[in-house]
Amino acid sequence: MKKNVKMVTIETPDHLELQFQLAGIGVRFIAFLIDKAIQIGTILGIVLFFSILLFFTGQMAQFVEFLAKAKKGVWQWLIAIGFLFYGIVMIGYFLLFEYFWSGSTPGKRYQEIRVIRKDARPISFFDSAVRNILRFVDILAEVYPLGLIVMFLDSQNRRLGDLAAGTIVISEREARSPAVLDVASAASSADPELQTAVAAMTAEDYRIVSKFLSRREELDTEHRLRLASEISKRILLRNGQEKIGADPEHFLEIMETLYRERTRIL
């Protein structure tokens, strides 16, 4: 298995090379916090549900009386059941979600990450059990101290549970495609100046143009105008032209469409 900081290449038994982007510690941390919030919400929800149930069935007074009069042994049982319930929710949540959701949990899904085996196969129930039982070691005092330090030291961001189960967490975030524009009219397609300009465009130019167009709504006006001019200038300079039109943004829209069309033709 070749590896570097961000990407991991896995060679399958039939010599196929699969490349994955490793999930970072930050993304995993946020996924964990989301899952934790859901778990705590679930526990509180269950407690609240039973309280409401007892209240509406008129059993609340008897239940409180039972607790008040309960002997030490009963209390110990209750505490043990409480711990068991907490453990089931804490481990069971991860175990079941990861097994049935192909290595994902709600938190992981929100962050677009997933657990897989280090040979790129989906994790089994056993893998999930091992990595989640060891979570209790990683997560000492609920602050993830060991997990954090092990992930920080491991080049593949694996915590103890991952190391023991032979799993890695990968990112499934795909590059967002910029909104496809279609502004080039028949007239502009036939314009020889525009055709010359687009002929001189490189893939890197196209990448800048498409990124600009997809992100322009987020840019503030001043920078949006300036960037449009600079990028237009960059493209025009390839043909030795320096004069930028009145609406560089529109020019870029046309360039984007024409370049895409020409690429498709070729």
Binding site: G26, V27, F152, A175, R215, E218, I231, G240
Partner: protein
């Protein structure tokens, strides 16, 4: 980063065939150097030129390939331009340079910058204003079988909050010792000075000059001179360290190497501005606190008139407190503005305010201010974990081993300071990345850098 990692990669395209070229011979020649491609398939492929032969050739291999294909009577094009003048070639062949070199996904993928060695930047790419940056080479091919080189990934593009934390961990991991050294220098110097002063005052003062016999006036004068000087010195040291940290993180974010001496030297020139702007910031926050206190007191008397007790006004204190927090957070980026943009005083505060105004696309929360609040909370959680990592062993040792009170105190203090140091480094990195993220989103800083790059 090693020079090996930063080599520019070239795309070699067969743009056409020269007049009189024998297609069969060309196909045969190409089939000899391309794996899994026989002459028949090559001949078929030659019918639909241009043909991208490789997208990841080293300069040496690209040169060899151009020469070889030239001998076969092929019109060859190379990107970035390499000996063949790009414009002339484009005009002559009417082939789009770079067209169809990248797959749709690759085109949509993140903007990558790859630092290039000087000699390459002279030949092909130029250095940008913010450092030795160059665009990445073209995409991989099946032809070029050189071992894969993994350049240090210097990706400048909008990040999610998780992405900011990821990047923070990445930078901390790659430069941990240097960043820790930058943060630790003022602690070490102040520690050394404290020890030296203790020795001077304790040994020389008590034995040689007998400090106890000094007049009150002399002691007051000494105090007036020494204490403010020491305070100013310590403040300057810590500002230097903070500024050096910002500069170092900024450098590494932009793909340069961290140099401790250079970082401190860089900040030294801006120290005056930095300290004065920080004082201005403190003053503004102090004024805001005073105004909010006055408003709170006013509400107390107002509530006393309309309700049985003035303490009902406490309900207004929470929003007032929130206003104060809002103001403080709005100015949080001023130190990055001073160090990175060299804008100081009110300009830096205004800039921080304007950077944190507006909404980001996608993700939650959308406002820049809200994003910073969430990030600071996440940072607080991680800092707590880091502190716990250092304090827990100290507590365990103190509990399990029969140590003297002094030893326990020293151990706890040392480990606690170490934890703070790690937290300080993490926080500084995190906020610098956030600062750049805001600039990428609002100002298209990454696009600006790319657009300024000249490929000729």
């Amino acid at each position: 980063m090693s020079e090996e990692n930063s080599e520019t990669l070239f795309t070699v395209i067969i743009a056409g065939l020269k007049p009189g070229a024998d297609k069969a011979k060309v196909a045969d020649g190409i089939a000899r150097i391309v794996k899994n491609l026989d002459a028949g398939k090559t001949l078929k492929r030659l019918e639909s030129l241009p043909w991208t032969m490789t997208r990841k050739a080293s300069r040496k291999n690209a040169g060899r390939l151009i020469k070889y294909l030239g001998k076969l009577n092929c019109d060859v094009e190379v990107i970035p331009p390499f000996e063949i003048p790009a414009i002339a070639d484009v005009a002559e062949t009417q082939i789009l340079p770079g067209t169809a070199l990248l797959s749709e996904t690759q085109i949509m993928s993140s903007t990558q910058f790859m630092p290039v060695p000087d000699e390459l930047s002279k030949q092909g790419s130029t250095q940008t204003s913010s450092g030795a940056l160059s665009k990445s080479g073209p995409e991989p091919s099946s032809l070029d079988r050189e071992p894969e080189r993994q350049p240090e990934d210097v990706s400048l593009e909008p990040l999610t909050l998780g992405g900011i934390l990821d990047k923070t961990f990445q930078i901390c991991r790659a430069n941990l010792w240097k960043l820790l050294a930058i943060a630790a220098i003022p602690w070490l110097i102040t520690g050394l000075i404290t020890v030296a002063l203790a020795i001077v005052v304790g040994i020389i003062g008590l034995t040689v000059h007998n400090i106890t016999n000094m007049s009150i006036t002399m002691l007051v004068v000494a105090g007036v001179l020494i204490i403010p000087s020491a305070i100013v010195f310590f403040i300057a040291m810590f500002y230097l360290a903070q500024g050096a940290m910002i500069h170092a993180v900024s450098s590494t974010y932009l793909g340069r190497k961290i140099n401790i001496k250079e970082s401190y030297g860089f900040v030294f020139d801006r120290l005056g501005k930095f300290v004065l702007t920080s004082l201005l910031f403190t003053l503004m926050i102090f004024l805001a606190t005073a105004m909010i206190s006055v408003a709170g007191t006013g509400f107390y008397f107002l509530f006393k008139i309309v309700t049985p007790s003035g303490w009902w006004s406490a309900v207004t204190w929470i929003p007032l407190f929130c206003v104060l927090i809002y103001l403080i957070i709005k100015f949080v980026l001023f130190d990055k503005v001073i160090i990175i943009e060299d804008v100081a005083y009110m300009g830096a505060l205004r800039r921080s305010w304007s950077l944190l105004t507006g909404k980001a696309e996608g993700g939650w929360p959308r406002s820049y201010w809200g994003r910073l609040v969430v990030l600071l909370n996440l940072f607080a959680l991680i800092s707590f974990t880091i502190a716990w990592l250092f304090q827990m062993p100290a507590s365990l040792v103190a509990a399990l081993f029969p140590l003297s009170q002094l030893a326990k105190t020293v151990l706890t203090q040392v480990l606690s300071n170490l934890g703070s140091l790690f937290g300080q480094v993490f926080g500084a990195v995190c906020l610098v990345i956030f600062y750049y993220d805001v600039r990428n989103r609002k100002e298209g800083f990454d696009l600006e850098m790319l657009a300024k790059m000249d490929e000729y």
